[in-house]
Amino acid sequence: AQSVTQLDSHVSVSEGTPVLLRCNYSSSYSPSLFWYVQHPNKGLQLLLKYTSAATLVKGINGFEAEFKKSETSFHLTKPSAHMSDAAEYFCVVSDGWPGGSYIPTFGRGTSLIVHP
């Protein structure tokens, strides 16, 4: 069975400071992991994904995440926050081969607040 826990429901940063959004997962198989972003009244957009290639994954808008199997973590980071980064962020896990479900499981989301 797969599950994902986003450790913070809200994260508040000042513009120009680093961003860290934390995600822990549980998976019985080699997982695929994703981060999605949702701006107000919009659908979700893929930021980045890990699918058993490089453990450090770079995404759009300067975001990146590192897959750490020993810690079962997939934290999202950005060196310098911008006002436009204010949004809801979702961590998603999907069990991989050979016997996992391909149905993604979503975390409850982390709201990123960026102060001027």
Binding site: S9, S30, S32, F34, Y36, N41, K42, G43, L44, Q45, L46, K49, T51, S52, F90, V92, S94, G96, W97, Y102, I103, P104, F106, G107, R108, G109
Partner: protein
Amino acid sequence: DVKVTQSSRYLVKRTGEKVFLECVQDMDHENMFWYRQDPGLGLRLIYFSYDVKMKEKGDIPEGYSVSREKKERFSLILESASTNQTSMYLCASSTPRKGFSTGELFFGEGSRLTVL
């Protein structure tokens, strides 16, 4: 670009009414999903479909049904709307899992349903 289109962005219905939410994707994706999004609960899977006329229940199917008569279209039906079905509904599509990799989800912009 992949496009997932949800027919209505905002709907207001009365208790007991039948409600249809339509979703169309233009990338020939096999998988389609309906999620419900509520504050603090993340996205919860209602139903998904991996092929035409095929459907499987997700985590919260009660009070909902779906229809997939054509590959590009996946409809969510509320047979008798209730106030606790007031929510944001998100449709998504994806390619099937291939080997170690799970296809990413592509989302529509959502349909915000209010049941009075």
